[in-house]
């Protein structure tokens, strides 16, 4: 491409590099250090080699069992919210008004849940779902449905998933809307002349044009739902039992609750590695999609 090769550009990037390295590499080194040791309190540390990692990947031990169970719950959660939020987001984006003041109104309301602090999101749903003082809980209970997210696993899951759909579907919708807006009118006119059906317009024009933003949406939603901590913690506290304990909650429990630094650090590293791999896969797909697009634009 047409970028100049200039290694002096490093000077422009240096402040960013130093600041992020300070916040990322130093703590990561601490984590690596801890992950190899065991502590019995009193700041006394003992060498434990790869012991924690072995335990972590072995479901028969306590640590491994908890890790794999929370990993499984987290994957189910991530897939469930992706399966709901992506189609719903596309539908909402397609339903956006065409012009006028309603567009601005819809955009602002859509963006509203995204700007609420995560613990307040949890609080809102905690209140909303309570059978005694919350509208949702009260309505469901008075309809004869036995709904209680504090004691029933299924209700807790439903609440956490609906909360996430409420919180983040707007993100997918806004991204898709931005993608849709970039489609020139000429495409639709051509489709009309060809007599294309509504469905054909969607699959042949709109979906391909949304391809890039959808990738970003899926990436962001997968990552953020995989790291989710605050919202379910406020609503269910990981319960009832351990039924909504996701990886982050488990990690904070081990690290700050039990102060089991070695275990927590080993868990952190494996957790980070999973995220890094998924991230790399998406990044490769995204940059490849970008590379395919550029020459096509240049020719047009």
């Amino acid at each position: 491409m047409d970028k100049t090769i200039n290694n002096k550009a490093w000077f422009l990037v240096l402040p960013v590099f130093l600041l992020v390295a300070f916040s990322a590499i130093l703590p990561l080194m601490t984590v690596v250090n801890y992950s190899m040791q065991d502590t019995f309190g009193n700041n006394q540390f003992f060498w434990n080699g790869v012991g924690w990692f072995k335990e972590l990947l072995d479901p028969s031990t306590d640590l491994g069992g908890r890790f794999l169970a929370s990993l499984g719950r987290n994957l189910i959660f991530s897939l469930a919210i992706l399966a709901i939020e992506v189609p719903l987001g596309i539908v909402v984006a397609l339903s956006m008004p065409r012009d006028g003041w309603t567009v601005a109104f819809c955009l602002v309301v859509l963006a509203l849940p995204l700007l609420i602090p995560w613990n307040v999101v949890g609080t809102i749903w905690q209140i909303f779902g309570r059978p005694d003082i919350g509208l949702l809980g009260y309505t469901l209970t008075s309809m004869g449905i036995d709904y209680n997210y504090v004691s029933n696993d299924l209700d807790a899951w439903a609440t956490v998933i609906v909360m996430d759909v409420w919180h983040w579907t707007s993100l997918v919708a806004l991204l898709c809307y931005a993608g849709l807006k970039s489609i020139p009118d000429a495409y639709y006119q051509a489709a009309q002349i060809d007599g294309a059906s509504r469905w054909a317009v969607f699959t042949a024009i709109q979906l391909p044009k949304m391809h890039r933003v959808l990738l970003i949406a899926v990436l962001l939603r997968f990552m953020d739902s995989f790291m989710i901590y605050t919202e379910p913690f406020v609503v269910t506290g990981g319960g009832p039992g351990n039924s909504t304990t996701f990886i982050s909650i488990e990690l904070v429990k081990i690290a700050l609750g039990q102060f089991d630094l070695g275990k927590a650090a080993a868990l952190s590293l494996v957790y980070n590695l999973i995220i890094l791999i998924v991230c790399w896969v998406f990044y490769t797909i995204m940059t490849n999609a970008g590379a395919e697009r550029r020459p096509a634009e240049g020719g047009a």
């Binding site: 970028k3 100049t4 200039n6 290694n7 002096k8 550009a9 490093w10 990037v13 960013v16 600041l19 992020v20 916040s23 990322a24 703590p27 601490t30 984590v31 539908v91 397609l94 339903s95 956006m96 008004p97 065409r98 819809c106 955009l107 602002v108 309301v109 509203l112 995204l114 700007l115 609420i116 602090p117 613990n119 307040v120 609080t123 809102i124 909303f128 003082i133 919350g134 509208l135 009260y138 409420w166 806004l174 991204l175 931005a178 489709a191 509504r198 317009v201 890039r212 933003v213 970003i216 962001l220 990886i247 990690l251 690290a255 700050l256 927590a264 957790y271 995220i275 991230c279 790399w280």
Partner: protein, 268 residues
């Protein structure tokens, strides 16, 4: 042609779904605890602003908002200042390890905060920044700087490079070109990036709570503690929640046309 049948109904239902829980919070914030617990009312029958008055008059409450705003603003300023030159470099030049560096930045945006909570606690205690706004502001840089670089890179790339070349031919030095020409050209992009830094720093709780104890305690931590101390003061909790929504709702109005582009990291 480019919309779907029944779109008005779908949109209306979805907006109601989004607004209903928020309405319920606002509704509760104007009720007395007695009304909340004993009756089920769709709007406050005995509206009261006592909950809000308590927050505005009690220092332990309103200092939480001030502390939160302190680190959020610090973080936004730091992030934008260092991200601008980096975004320019990524957009215009190819240099040793540029792609790896970019990916590394991206991976930090995706790193779970829970992993870093404890090491950050050690790190900032060791350098004496624990329980200051600086600790939280620097900690939030880990996800906000990559985000700002991403968004700004998209906006810088939309400025034609002929403008740079013309400016340099006219004898502009690099810093002067940067401040006098480039920054005004991407002013809207800077606004969007600042908005996103503000937002992600504002909504984050785990790190903010881990890195502070007394003096710099953010509002989110104040909310969790005070509420559990005196039983469950639902009205007060709701009022505090409503007040945390307002700053976001205010800034959102100014960037409404750029929201989507910002979320796409400047890459739509």
């Amino acid at each position: 042609m480019n919309t779907i049948p029944g779109r008005r109904v779908i949109m209306a239902v979805f907006l109601v779904f989004l607004l209903l829980p928020i309405y319920w919070l606002v509704n509760m914030s104007f009720k007395t605890n007695n009304e909340i617990v004993t009756t089920m009312t769709l709007w406050p029958h005995q509206p009261t602003i006592a909950n809000y008055m308590r927050i505005f008059t009690d220092e332990s409450w309103y200092s939480g908002y001030i502390n939160s705003l302190k680190y959020v603003i610090l973080n936004t300023v730091i992030s934008i200042l260092v991200a601008l030159p980096a975004a320019y470099a990524f957009s215009r030049y190819r240099f040793l390890g540029d792609k790896h560096l970019f990916f590394w930045l991206l991976s930090n945006r995706m790193a779970p905060a829970a992993v870093y909570a404890l090491p950050f606690f050690n790190l900032y205690s060791a350098i004496g920044l624990f329980d200051t706004p600086w600790a939280v502001a620097l900690a939030h840089c880990i996800f906000n700087i990559p985000l700002a670089v991403w968004i700004l890179e998209g906006f810088v790339s939309s400025v034609p490079r002929e403008i740079d070349e013309t400016a340099f031919l006219d004898g502009y030095s690099f810093p002067r070109f940067f401040v006098k020409i480039l920054v005004p050209l991407i002013a809207s992009g800077i606004g969007v990036a600042a908005f996103f830094c503000f937002m992600f720093s504002w909504v984050e709780l785990l790190l903010a709570r881990t890195l502070t104890s007394v003096d710099a305690k953010p509002i989110s931590a104040v909310m969790t503690r005070t509420v559990s101390a005196s039983g469950m003061d639902w009205g007060l909790l709701a009022a505090a929640g409503v007040l945390t929504i307002i700053p976001g709702a205010l800034v959102i109005w100014f960037v409404r046309n750029y929201i989507a582009r910002g979320f796409a990291l400047g890459r739509v």
